[in-house]
């Protein structure tokens, strides 16, 4: 199949009032059959001013990043309609555009805006949907992403995952000294925020199901401990500081339990901790390394990595512990599982022939499919709509992030301007007031 390689670069802009991107996103493998759409620059109503964000550019970039849409470059737009009455569908049909998005951003009281948009089916000549959304000045990017979500769902039937965030770990060597940061950013790489900075390693970030907290492992004071940090306030509490390993935190889907790996009883085992009273229940028991627990979305089982069979493989047990069933049989290394939101597929790191790649396995059929192409790929994380998997990879000698669509046909890369980025985790769907 002929691949159309799009190379859209969303770079750090010099314009001071636009938000800063931490991560540059580059599409490295485009998709055949991406639907041509036109996203017209939004008007500003009767006012002459420049809004703090280019809402239509954010929407176009979101749609392009999904891999399923190919927005026309702005310079190829033959008209700039703002109101429904300005639209001449015939113009857009001649361009081969299937869908048209128009809108406007108007000031509305004290530092607030109203964003209006309409989505059209060009061939039928009809509006599909349209909304008017309020936005504070610092919430315009979020509203733009919400609009992308609405458009995506109207056109594909699936919820969009643009108004979401990713958390990740950065490591950088400055003057010979290594520093680590836990950071989060919008899923398009903008609005980076550092949650924690340390001179000792940070690992294994995990979003709470309500998206308000992150659990992580920190090696402050040269020993591993699990913390939970509230994102808005920055306040954190220590969750596990037992003797030995404290690692791999994983929230249960109802947010009431945290599975963790502890070696307090002699070797790494999986425990479930009830968060209300910190009581521990041990789920595995044996001389092997048992780690990386992850809960099924229905909360009934836990998949984990174990080398009880001689090499690291994925196993599944009930959330009560007990007998574990082996899930992976191909390759000599399978670890770092992540469940798709529908619970039917696992993403994992799959090692074969000395290469470590991201693969998915269908839980019903057992069919394994390798999705990535690197040799040291790790840490896969599904988007909350299941459409993409973000993961960590190497680009030359630097750690970068990459994303691949769940069918493997579409790829992109996220890189930092300096330093190494790894261990990405995609947030759940968010509801912001």
């Amino acid at each position: 199949m002929k691949k159309i390689a799009l190379s859209l670069l969303f770079v750090f802009t010099c314009l001071p009032w636009l938000a800063r991107a931490a991560l540059t996103i580059e599409i490295t493998q485009g998709m055949d059959g991406a639907v041509p759409v036109a996203v017209v620059p939004f008007g500003t109503g009767a006012n002459r001013y420049t809004p703090p964000e280019d809402v239509s550019a954010i929407i176009a970039a979101d749609l392009a990043r999904s891999g399923r849409f190919a927005p026309l470059p702005v310079q190829n737009l033959i008209a700039r309609p703002v109101e429904i009455g300005d639209v001449r569908f015939q113009d857009w049909r001649t361009l081969g555009v299937e869908n048209l998005v128009i809108g406007k951003v108007e000031p509305y009281g004290d530092g607030q805006y109203r964003v209006q948009f309409r989505l059209f089916d060009v061939f039928r000549g009809r509006q599909i949907t349209g909304y008017s959304l309020p936005a504070p000045a610092d919430g315009l990017r979020y509203v733009a992403h919400r609009i992308s979500d609405i458009i995506y769902e109207a056109l594909t039937g699936q919820p969009g995952a643009f108004a979401t965030r990713i958390a990740y770990v950065i490591s950088e060597t400055v003057n010979g000294k290594k520093t680590y940061e836990l950071q989060l950013a919008d899923s398009d790489g903008y609005n980076p925020r550092t949650l924690l900075s340390s001179v000792q390693p940070l690992m294994s970030p995990a979003w709470s199901p309500d998206g308000r907290k992150l659990a992580y492992v920190s090696f402050e004071n040269r020993r591993a401990r699990v913390f939970i940090q509230d994102i808005a306030s920055g306040k954190r509490e220590e969750l596990a500081a037992f003797s030995g390993i404290n690692g791999a935190p994983a929230w249960s889907p109802d947010g009431k339990y945290m599975a963790v790996t502890l070696s307090r009883d002699g070797n790494p085992e999986i425990y479930s901790m009830r968060l209300s009273d910190r009581s521990l229940k041990r789920l595995t028991n044996g001389p092997s390394i048992d780690t990386e627990p992850v809960w099924s979305p229905d909360g009934s089982s836990i998949v984990f990595t174990s080398d009880r069979g001689g090499s690291p493989q994925l196993y599944r047990m009930s959330v009560q512990g007990g007998r574990a069933e082996r899930l992976t049989f191909e390759g000599n290394y399978n670890a770092s599982a992540d469940f798709a939101p529908d619970g039917k597929t696992l993403a994992m790191v799959h090692g074969e022939g000395g290469k470590y790649r991201i693969a998915t396995q269908d839980l019903d059929s057992g069919l394994l499919r390798v999705l990535s192409e690197g040799s040291l790929d790790e840490s896969p994380s599904f988007a909350p709509n299941g459409s993409m998997i973000i993961y960590a990879t190497e680009d030359g000698h630097r750690g970068v992030l990459a994303a691949v669509s769940s069918d493997g046909r579409f790829r992109q890369r996220f890189s930092l301007q300096q330093g190494n980025v790894r261990e990405p985790v995609w947030s759940p769907f968010e509801k912001r007031e």
């Binding site: 690992m203 670890a335 040291l376």
Partner: protein, 179 residues
């Protein structure tokens, strides 16, 4: 013959350790141990040359670049936590030192190369560190002198993405606390 000698030595340590109940007792065990090790050292392991001399087990030996105690890193094969035959005398030298100085504490740090999952590598680093810890305790070091931490792949000794770098990262480091 060498194996039989080692087994006898091991048995001697176990039996004598069973007899002693105080820190002083352990010191005595170490003395017994050392003379046997000294004989073995004569068979060709250059790194143990300092072990037969009681003077080399003082605190000053820690800072002596000619002492075997200056070597603090043990390396491992891929996916393995087995201590190589040629590294055993080094571990024994550290064990003898610690056993003779019961107030000295050591942190045994386990590390791995970068391949594979980070959390699994925490487990693998721990397994390597536990191997060394067990050897130290077996040789008479008190459990409260040893703490273990695994950094997995998070603190490589050298950056690099090939076997020459990876082989330097698969290691256990002995870190003497306060020295």
């Amino acid at each position: 013959m060498k194996l039989v000698l080692k087994l006898m030595m091991a048995l001697a340590v176990v039996w004598l350790a069973g007899c002693s109940s105080t820190g002083g007792g352990k010191g005595d065990v170490a003395v017994e141990d050392r003379s046997d090790t000294g004989m073995e050292a004569g068979a060709g392991a250059a790194t143990t040359s300092g072990v037969g001399d009681y003077g080399a087990l003082t605190i000053e030996a820690l800072n002596d670049p000619n002492s075997p105690l200056s070597q603090r890193v043990i390396y491992f094969a891929f996916d393995s936590s087995e201590v190589a035959e040629q590294d055993r005398p080094l571990v024994e030298a550290h064990a003898a030192f610690l056993a003779a100085n019961p107030t000295v504490k050591v942190t045994v740090e386990g590390h791995t190369d970068e391949r594979g999952s980070r959390e699994y590598n925490i487990g693998l680093g721990d397994r390597r560190a536990q191997s060394i810890r067990r050897m130290l305790e077996f040789q008479g070091v008190a459990p409260n002198q040893i703490s273990v931490v695994s950094f997995g792949e998070e603190k490589p000794a050298t950056e690099g993405h090939d076997e020459s770098a990876w082989s330097l990262n698969r290691r256990v480091e002995l870190v003497y606390v306060g020295y």
